[in-house]
């Protein structure tokens, strides 16, 4: 995971410096890589990496720009196709930080209503700045409340977190 970010950072940086219209292509490719069938193809020991790259590229014929095809070939040469989701993530983070945006992942034990989410987002803006988007997710282990995460910064307002604090206090 962390190793991947070391490897994927230079690629993302290069893409970002090249232009900022890679988003849609990267998203498509990364979706494909996340597909179990394609992942199996990349991990398969029966094919040579060159064959894998060819088969992989065939998936996107006519769908992506020629630049993106070249990029995939470069990745293929270094046997790093599986890095694509990480590269996409890094790339998005670079675009966001260049625009001064922040993404906050918002976890709650159940699906939040739109009003609830908006209310939390407004209060989070005080902490993380105005220019933020929230991505809601469900984590049942939280029991109640919510947990907001932006990069390494975490704001834990969940019942689980409070119970952990209580258990630390009592031991």
């Amino acid at each position: 995971m962390a190793n991947n970010s070391t490897l994927s950072r230079p690629y993302a940086q290069a893409l970002f410096e090249h232009s900022d219209d890679w988003s849609s292509d990267l998203e498509k490719i990364s979706l494909a890589v996340k597909d179990p069938g394609v992942a199996n193809l990349i991990d398969s020991p029966h094919l040579s990496y060159q064959d894998k790259v060819e088969q992989f590229l065939a998936l996107f014929e006519g769908e992506i720009e020629s630049n993106a095809v070249n990029f995939l070939k470069v990745l293929g040469e270094s046997k790093r196709l599986s890095l694509i989701p990480d590269i996409e993530k890094e790339y998005r983070a670079l675009i966001e930080s260049s625009k001064g945006k922040k993404t906050v992942e918002l976890f709650s034990p159940f699906v939040l209503s739109v009003e609830q989410q908006e209310k939390i987002t407004t209060s989070l803006k005080k902490r993380f700045g105005d220019n933020l988007t929230t991505e809601a997710g469900v984590d049942e282990s939280l029991i109640g409340g919510f947990l907001a995460r932006s990069g390494d910064d975490v704001l834990d307002a969940s019942i689980k977190g409070k119970l952990e604090k209580l258990s630390n206090q009592l031991t």
């Binding site: 995971m1 962390a2 990069g151 390494d152 910064d153 975490v154 604090k165």
Partner: protein, 514 residues
């Protein structure tokens, strides 16, 4: 442990729950991506500081040591087997601290200052960071008061002053720890607080030291910081710094303290282990590049500080008192090799060394100090007048003796002067022997040195020197109590004292048997 009844327990729980802060606070988190050998690599923790305490799950703590671009390399203080890869780690915003203060005296604690002697909790009010910057030049003062080690050979030839760093170096089994323990025992009525830091030793050895200190009544003003061989390397590495912080508490409050690091070789080993696991590049003898800094920053904290510094530090509560922290670091050599990495480093950092030799130890010369290469660079200014005056002759006598001894092996007959010197040297060497755990007072030492200087030993057979000394001290204590007391208190030496000593010794020689 203290006994608690059920109502007290529920009250304590209630208090703890009342004090609980459930307000959500922002924190900086990361994930353990690699965990082995007491080392964790953590992804995230973007705001961590170097040396910051990291909170893992299951109540385990760690310390951030390597801040890399994608990882934080941390050492785990405690049981790393409880942790697993994928678990979270949080920044705490604090650096490692240990409890300090008078409450620790008489206790045995681990490297984090937690009691391990089964005598209950320590109610220390203050905590102090383990890593601190040593006092600067302006806040310091010259070393001019002695720390009496209580060993004739050391106090007369390599005196130690308050605030000095005097290295005790030698092979295994040469009595290094014994000297340090004697020094601690000798401080029991002087008001000097002691800290004994045991690094990488057997638990049984540590227990033995604690028992010895208790037996001689020296434990009441001593703190023992123990990081045994079974403790993780980070604990062994930190123990020295923890002990130093505990000693600094006294230094900064205008008191005098003595700290023994037993031993820094093992601390360097622990640091080497950590560094290699953290993938820091190895250098000479596979130690990392900053082993010198490891020991120099530790030993620089032993200092004599001025009254102004103490007054400023205590906000004017303590006035006109200087503080000091004297260090007796111990380094173990292999086969007398003092040019190995750690010995050369520590020799160059300290203000002198007491060199112990296996051959002398085997010959029954205990303490097995080699007077030729043992030095004290600053202690001379701190020596008490009586020891300074009378001890001067000892070093010369021994130096001439060594020279003549080698020479006399070839020469068949010697002139009278040389023979006399040789005989005097033999007697002085014999006189310098001293039993373990029996440190001497200033007056006792003064009397014995006076006897040696004034030639009273000439008539005594070499085998009888020990008996002579014993009988002399018994006689002086019973017949010349006043003189002994006065000398012990002031440490002054003048014609009057010399005359009294002469009279007492003349009386002793003419009337007593030994």
């Amino acid at each position: 442990m203290e006994e608690l009844n059920p109502s007290e327990i529920s009250q304590i729980i209630r208090q703890k729950i009342d004090a609980l802060d459930t307000e959500p606070r922002p924190s900086n988190e990361g994930t353990i991506v690699f965990l082995a050998d007491g080392i964790a690599r953590i992804h995230g923790l973007g705001e961590v500081m170097n040396g910051e305490l990291i909170q893992f799950e299951h109540g385990v703590q760690g310390m951030a040591l390597n801040l890399e671009r994608d990882f934080v390399g941390a050492v785990i203080l405690g049981n790393y087997r409880l942790l697993a890869e994928g678990e979270t780690a949080k920044c705490t915003g604090t650096i490692l601290e240990v409890p300090v203060g008078e409450a620790l005296l008489g206790r045995v604690v681990n490297a984090l200052g937690e009691p391990i002697d089964g005598k209950g909790a320590i109610n220390a009010e203050l905590r102090s960071p383990v890593e601190k910057i040593a006092p600067g030049v302006i806040s310091r003062q010259g070393v001019d008061q002695p720390v009496q080690i209580g060993l004739k050979a050391i106090d007369s030839m390599v005196p130690v002053g308050r605030g000095q760093r005097e290295l005790i170096i030698g092979d295994r089994q040469t009595g290094k720890t014994a000297i340090a323990i004697d020094a601690i025992i000798n401080q029991k009525d002087t008001g000097v607080k002691c800290v004994y830091v045991a690094i990488g030793q057997k638990q049984s050895t540590i227990a033995g030291v604690v028992r010895t200190l208790e037996k001689y009544g020296a434990m009441d003003n001593t703190i023992v910081v123990a990081a045994g061989a079974a403790d993780p390397a980070p604990m062994q590495y930190i123990a020295a710094f923890s002990g130093c912080s505990m000693g600094e508490y006294f230094r900064d409050r205008g008191e005098d303290a003595l700290i023994v690091y037993d031993d820094l070789t093992k601390q360097a080993w622990a640091y080497r282990q950590m560094s290699l696991l953290l993938k820091r590049p190895p250098g000479r003898e596979a130690y990392p590049g900053d082993v010198f800094y490891l020991h120099s920053r530790l030993l620089e904290r032993s200092a004599r500080v001025s009254a102004d510094y103490v007054e400023k530090f205590t906000d004017g509560k303590v006035k006109g008192k200087t503080g000091s922290l004297t260090a007796l670091p111990i380094v173990e050599t292999q086969e007398g090799d003092i040019s190995a990495f750690v010995p050369t480093n520590v020799i160059s950092i300290t203000d002198g060394q007491i060199f112990l030799e296996t051959s002398l130890f085997s010959a029954g010369l205990k303490p097995a100090m080699d007077p030729g290469i043992s030095v004290s660079r600053v202690g001379g200014a701190a020596q008490l007048p009586i020891i300074k005056k009378l001890g001067g002759g000892i070093r010369t006598a021994l130096a001439q003796y060594r020279e003549l001894e080698a020479f006399s092996q070839f020469a068949s007959d010697l002139d009278d002067a040389s023979r006399e010197q040789l005989e005097h040297g033999t007697r002085v060497t014999e006189l310098m022997k001293q039993g373990q755990n029996s440190p001497m007072s200033v007056s006792e030492m003064g009397a014995v040195l006076f006897a040696a200087n004034e030639g009273y030993l000439k008539e005594v057979e070499v085998e009888k020197i020990k008996d002579f000394e014993k009988a002399l001290l018994a006689y002086l204590h019973s017949e010349h109590t006043e003189l002994m007391k006065a000398v012990a208190e002031t440490g002054d030496y003048g014609d009057a004292v010399a005359a009294e000593f002469k009279e007492a010794l003349d009386n002793f020689v003419s009337t007593q048997t030994y």
